[in-house]
Symmetry: C2
Subunit: 337 residues, 2 copies
């Protein structure tokens, strides 16, 4: 049923090559010939078979983006930016999610979930450097996020320590001195939460403000209910912070919900700063102050890095590319105007 180049060629009474030339806008075709072929194309409703083209050229025009969870607005917004950045280069994006599970991340990184891609952008949570060792390197990989891996793959991130320090500095500037960090992870040292905790510690130390352990609060996950549970646990244990710096906006939002339930007023009783700048943070009853990573820049850097590997300019790889961030100050630290 589908119309192929051969059919068009037969119809126009020319060779396959000529039709191919027209389809690909090869310059050296006489206008008359071009018109004749085009007519046949239109009459037959010919559309090139991209699978065949891809087999021939060894490229598919598809890159994959694998994030932990699309339900996390940060990743949804990031995915939007990646789709746009890819579209600028006429690439489409295959989306996958790993649920933040290591075995899923390994599968994705080794291309077992989607094996028709030119490149992969992976935002890992639990993946270990060793998981990347066994990787066959035919598909270029770019890593996203906070984790540092000593591997020959480019890595896109913001300066997490500096960002966390900016957040804590802002809270100190508002007169807060008992600033809880919501987002510690007990299981491993270099998990995503780590660098932000380092920033929290460094900034407090620089200001000469104590950083007692009971203000470092572990969370079980990255979602609103994890933040709510952590906040409730903290308050139940009798600790009373005057500010909270959360690993991400979702955790901050969960924490704010609990503060609200307990009758604590944000920011007067407890100020809150999040991380990610998701749209949701702008429209709560109390809008959320947050660290805003430049998601479009992250997307552009990731796609750019991938395309560079694809064009294979003797890419060294292993670079860390840094995107900007800024602190967006809203009601959860400033109060209502």
């Amino acid at each position: 049923m589908p119309v192929s180049l051969k059919d068009v060629a037969a119809r126009a009474g020319v060779s396959i090559k000529t039709v191919s030339n027209v389809v690909n806008n090869y310059p050296h075709v006489t206008p008359a010939m071009r018109a004749r072929v085009q007519e046949a194309i239109d009459e037959l409703g010919y559309r090139p078979n991209l699978t065949a083209r891809h087999l021939r050229k060894g490229r598919t025009g598809i890159i994959a983006l694998a994030v932990p969870e699309l339900g996390n607005p940060y990743f949804a917004e990031l995915a939007t930016a990646v789709i746009d950045a890819a579209a600028e280069h006429e690439f489409t994006v295959l989306l996958d999610h790993t649920r933040g599970r290591r075995e899923q991340e390994v599968l994705v990184s080794q291309g077992f979930r989607a094996r028709v891609i030119d490149g992969l952008i992976l935002s890992p949570l639990e993946l270990e450097a060793e998981d990347l060792q066994g990787r066959s390197d035919d598909v270029p990989l770019v890593l996203l996020g906070e984790r540092e891996y000593d591997t020959p793959h480019d890595h896109i991130a913001i300066d997490n320590v500096a960002a966390a320090r900016a957040a804590v500095r802002h809270l100190l500037g508002r007169g807060r001195t008992r600033i809880a960090y919501l987002g510690a992870r007990t299981d491993s040292a270099n998990r995503p939460a780590h660098l932000r905790l380092v920033g929290w510690r460094e900034e407090l130390a620089a200001a000469g403000v104590p950083a007692p352990d009971d203000l470092v609060v572990p969370v079980g996950g990255w979602d609103r209910d994890d933040g709510a549970r952590a906040m409730a646990g903290l308050l139940d244990s009798g600790v009373r912070p005057d500010a909270v710096f959360a690993l991400n906006d979702l955790i901050a939002i969960g924490a704010m919900r609990v503060l609200h339930e307990r009758g604590l007023r944000v920011p007067w009783d407890v100020a809150v700063v999040g991380f990610d700048d998701i749209a949701e943070g702008r429209f709560g009853a109390v809008s959320l102050t947050t660290v805003s990573p430049d998601k479009r820049a992250i997307a552009r850097l990731a796609v750019g890095s991938l395309l560079r590997s694809l064009s294979g300019r003797g890419d060294p790889g292993g670079r860390t590319l840094t995107a900007e961030f800024r602190l967006v100050e809203r009601e959860s630290t400033l109060g209502r105007r």
Copy 2:
């Protein structure tokens, strides 16, 4: 560099066909032969080239999902469900967004954005039935959402009129009689907002409650700020509803933010019901009562319909498949427990 069947065949000293048989688990292969070939496969690190396989079989194993906006959590959550549903059948999902723009939707529906797909799930906003006429039918299409099209494509939806009626009935049951509808569209009769408006009207009529025009509020888009603007405009014009039924949760959340700013208490002064049941609605200062469409069912129905078209069982098409919904009652109508 990549290893092909031929390489493996040479290594194992057998024919290509035999290797292919092993790779595809063809039953009639002697164990000895299978072991020998497998050894060569492992040694060479052979991985099948899916592009070639696809060219041969005419299938790619990829379906596309095109939604208006991934930044809308409803669509992000739906996308998650579709990816999972597709994965169950070993399909991967190419994600695209249309920004709700008709020309983008037309492009996507005609396969111009991604032409290597076996099927397409499209959630249209502005697309018109006529846009689907010129479609070459080689790629099966399933439509999602409220719009009804008289076309030979399956359509997945919930009963929007019944859902809207349930929402309004709930508000009436809470003693509300001036229920504003936030989400009318002025531009066209059969836009997405229409059926829910019909439900609003029907339920009010059934209860003998007046439905004055000034309670039907147009919105400019589908996002939080559109809801905020609409709510502010309504209040500024002096209209004072005792409840709001919003086209979707984002609009409801924007409206609640404005009510909060104006010192109106939800639900005591104004009760609010949304539509979509996005996770965000559960964690605001006032949790949101909402109509919850069964997203997993929608995803399963859509993928199922596509696969049925693919296996080409003389599919008639043009059916409307209906998923369930339920009303989730929360603080924005019940108050705080």
